[in-house]
Symmetry: C2
């Protein structure tokens, strides 16, 4: 019988614990797949274990500590010692990817990280391997389950953000400190990784602009429902004329959009390219055993054969000012000439209105507009000018919208 494969496990939190159980439960299948029995060489926890000893005793290292330090040091030392590494650590890859990939290439060992993005959805493998030579135009989707759960619940119940957030915490869909999720920072790290893989260019977290969902109001969702729209926190990485753009923002989708029905704590990612049209993948975005299952998939792949480490093929600039379509919601005073005044300001910035609806009257008068795709800087300038008009009763609310098939 062959020698067992010895796995050094760093971290035994939710995912680490689930992984330790899964590797035990599936050891027969792992042995069938790779011809060797898996065995934990050692587990590093906050309570105990010595990294150097575990490293010396391992064939492969699985990093599930999270955060950047000491995870970064452990991964680098493992790679330099010739150990392939599996990690689920999105922050580490989004902030120090280049250094880690370089170290893996130099050592000639694999570095795999399927579980870092979109949970059990194998988007990393699909982009790197299936679409590795595809001219990907756009990768986008819902890559944070907490915020998707909150937005789904707000839309379904009409309850305000704070109330739904509390519910999400109670159900375990939001952490005690949910700021990374609700601010869009977590999604931004994932999009940095996906953009790097899709476009073969270095992208770091600080190049990703993001907005979260803290400002979303039940009112926005009510209007959206009426218009047949749903609101999602989208991560979008796409080729633009001058380079690429990588962003996270709340966005309205029309009812027929493939991402519109994705609700609750699910993730979904779409890949677009001329030669593939579009491929959509969805599934649970998190969960201990689901994430552990993605880690196990990576581990088996490493043991099954060699594969190249991600390498950039050039450097594409990250463009800040891109074009978008917007939904614009203005609470206005109810008197003649208001629409003309707003339209004048938009026209001054070459911002063109696709549709406009006047709603309510008196104290409740509103203008709800959809703005054609335009440079965001132009729209922002127009918005600043609208805020100065004396016809507004409240701050304008603008939310991006994917215009396609939007009526």
């Amino acid at each position: 019988m062959s020698e067992p494969v010895r796995i050094g496990l760093l971290g035994r939190g939710t995912v680490g614990g689930a992984f330790a159980e899964l590797i035990e439960a599936r050891s027969g299948a792992v042995e069938a797949a790779i011809g060797r029995r898996p065995e934990l060489a050692g587990v590093l926890t906050r309570q105990g274990g010595d990294f150097d000893e575990i490293l010396a005793d391992s064939d492969v290292v699985v990093e599930l500590i999270g955060g950047t330090e000491p995870a970064r040091r452990f991964v680098l030392e493992s790679l330099r010692a010739g150990r392939p590494v599996v990690t689920a650590n999105k922050q580490l890859l989004a902030q120090h990817g280049e250094e880690l990939f370089d170290a893996a290439r130099e050592a000639g060992v694999q570095l795999r990280f399927e579980a870092a993005v979109a949970g059990v959805i194998p988007i990393v493998r699909v982009i790197q391997e299936s679409f590795g030579t595809t001219e990907i135009a756009k990768v986008f989707g819902i890559v944070n389950g907490t915020t998707n759960f909150i937005l789904s619940e707000m839309a379904a119940s009409g309850a305000p953000y704070e109330e739904v957030l509390a519910r999400a915490k109670g159900l375990g869909y939001a952490e005690a400190d949910p700021s990374d999720d609700v601010s869009g920072a977590d999604a931004a790290a994932k999009m940095a990784i996906l953009a790097r893989l899709a476009f073969h260019t270095p992208v770091t977290l600080d190049e990703v602009s993001y907005e979260g969902i803290e400002q979303v109001e039940p009112d926005d969702l009510a209007y959206a429902k009426e218009l047949g729209l749903s609101l999602k926190l989208l991560g979008v990485a796409e080729r633009r004329e001058a380079g690429i753009s990588v962003r996270v923002f709340p966005c309205f989708l029309y009812g027929g959009h493939p991402l519109a029905p994705v609700s609750g704590p699910f993730n979904a990612v779409m890949v677009e390219a001329p030669e593939i049209t579009e491929v959509t993948m969805s599934g649970p975005g998190a969960g201990g055993v689901q994430t552990a299952s993605a880690v196990l998939g990576d581990l088996v792949s490493i043991l099954n054969g060699d594969a190249p480490v991600h390498e950039t093929r050039g450097r594409l600039p990250v463009v800040a000012d891109v074009t978008s379509s917007f939904y614009l919601h203005l609470a206005v005073v109810d008197r003649p000439g208001v629409l003309a005044a707003v339209a004048q300001v938009l026209g001054d910035q070459d911002v063109s209105v696709k549709s406009v609806v006047q709603r309510g009257a008196g104290e409740d008068a509103r203008l709800v507009m959809v703005i054609h795709e335009c440079l965001e800087s132009r729209f922002e300038a127009a918005l600043a000018a609208i805020e100065k008009l004396d016809v507004l009763r409240a701050r304008p609310r603008a939310i991006r919208v994917i215009e396609e098939e939007f009526v």
Copy 2:
């Protein structure tokens, strides 16, 4: 500079032609990915080319001829000559998979076939690699774009099958002889392949039972719409108590089902397992460049590193008699006691009714029932007994339904 990779291309039809163009267009990306420039060593067409010469001159063989012979002989000879092979040939794999995989393993070369199932959706890679050690419970979905287009159009327009089929031919979504698609035989070949990969057991085409869409009537779709259901031709491979079942059949889905919104010539496949919950993948099911793109992905993977050839891990029996839920539509005479008579027959077979609606009156009286999950043999026995009742005005129509959340 490294030597180019020489590719022997067998077949230059729609996919072969698109592949020849794609490899040219993406040669820079291929070189970036594998460090070698791709080059066509030769192309075998009906008009010319010599297989032995092409083989001798190739590093890798791409088989896009289709059909079982001479494709089988070419693939076997290529493998035995130590050439890795990429094929898009579902019939070949569904009928002769075991022989081909054995030959590849013996020669120690890869045999890849992403393009054989679900077009550009990388379901083969995901099942084999990402979920290679996952205890998959069920793989199912829409794996034939022609029939999905026809059913979508019938549902949208109310037009009868023959008329929509003619339209599909005009648009290039159906072939001149569509029998393989509409009979479910094409989907059955794909499900044989997916079942083999998911359950690590030999499955051949003749073990897959299938029904097509030729019998579907506009009336069925009209009722379905009214009930919030959509009709899809599903391929379903699942673990059952006594083994596995692999089948293709038209099936009603409730509106919230992830496959319900998949319309037109698209494919979508779901994978279910306890440790992953469910993952859904969708995209275009066919098209020359899309299929060629899947072939290119396989080619690059072969050149990027070694990977194991599919191997069975045992033999699970294919179970014929499984449980299903049904929608049952009976045109009946309008008189008291009809429901009682039908209910009696169902009860005699232990078949239990979930809901029943009486519709119409007189010449148009109907009973529309949903039957709880039961052994199909029991349901068929009940159906045979119902047909003998003197209360029917037409043959009963039964269609399977995925009961979950069905009301």
